[in-house]
Subunit: 120 residues, 4 copies
């Protein structure tokens, strides 16, 4: 996995894990890979991986059984979905639209780009 320079690695791991849960690869009450395994897989220090787990636990998306490992919270997927959806609609999209106007990109252009994206 390649990491972006601008964003902390542990947050990129959070995103990566969120995607796993969101897409159902890791499902409710299922045990997810151990901190060490993720660290090895992504080639980062275990502490860094641990921070991602910490973060997700604080947001009640995963939980821990001591000595056993981490598990996806029953409502974890829904929680991420809702959270991300709201953020997308309320924060990201308005920015995008404002930017489109400044750059002279129309709704039609947008739709066309979307079609392109889908056929790729």
């Amino acid at each position: 996995m390649e990491f972006n320079q601008e964003k902390p690695i542990y947050l990129q791991i959070v995103d990566w894990m969120s995607d796993k849960i969101l897409s159902g690869i890791w499902s409710s009450d299922e045990r997810i890979p151990s901190v060490r395994d993720v660290a090895m897989l992504l080639q980062v220090n275990p502490n860094t991986a641990m921070r991602a787990y910490d973060h997700l636990q604080n947001e009640n998306i995963i939980y821990n059984k001591r000595g056993i490992g981490y598990f996806v919270e029953p409502e974890g997927q829904a929680k991420i979905m809702e959270h991300e959806k709201r953020r997308f609609l309320m924060e990201i999209l308005p920015d995008i639209f404002t930017r489109m106007e400044l750059l002279g990109i129309s709704a039609d252009d947008l739709n066309e780009e979307y079609k392109k994206h889908k056929t790729q």
Copy 2:
């Protein structure tokens, strides 16, 4: 002005200034407000404002006349426009689309949001 927690303040100032130029409020070869004025207006440390000016100068969007002030490069607006447009289409949009799919947001939803945004 309120600053986002995650993005460096000086980059948010860069964005704010870019908007001014892009929208024509600050036009070619026009003198823009002094570093100190911007710092006061936005309530930030002058060093922080200075960094924004530095950044824009490095990208050849503004230039400096010593002892007088900063000015918009003749092609500043076009430069931003082109640069931003490419970045928007190549980097930002694809991300947005991928995310939409993950969150179950359709093209129709997108268009509807756009209409909402325009009527606001």
Copy 3:
């Protein structure tokens, strides 16, 4: 049985067993449930239950007859009682009192809470 997140499970089992002995449910020289039974009852790993038994044996509160099971030491109840009483008065109460002062809880409040507790 529900376990507290912060305290090791085996110590919570120790507390639970101590209560049994202290309240006389398990009395002197009486055979107590097997490690396996406790593990099943409390839904924990047998190793974890075993650790609790170990701990109590080290404190001479229970003893083991090989092949037969664990028993309460003749003076087990008294031993716990004395040990706990000293700890309670010397270590726990002072802490509680200091905290009460910081939180603005008076002796009267304390007594009232105690009455509430007893009537429950």
Copy 4:
């Protein structure tokens, strides 16, 4: 400062800082000592001190101004007070009372101990 063996150091630092705020030594919107200073003062690694700050920021008890330092949230003191008070009354006291009964300590004994504590 001496640290307890059983509790993580960073949580003991959290307690120590909470006390400072609760007792008004650090008040609303006041800048608190830098992470490094606390680390030096308490003779711990800066990372460990940092964890305490992180924790308190997550609980909205302190906030950060980038490049400047950490400050006490306007409602920080009240927040700790309320949180701790509830925890004390709902979680800690009932335990204490149950234990008192098992140990044969009466309300009168309790009051007497409290008097002793106050005269010390």
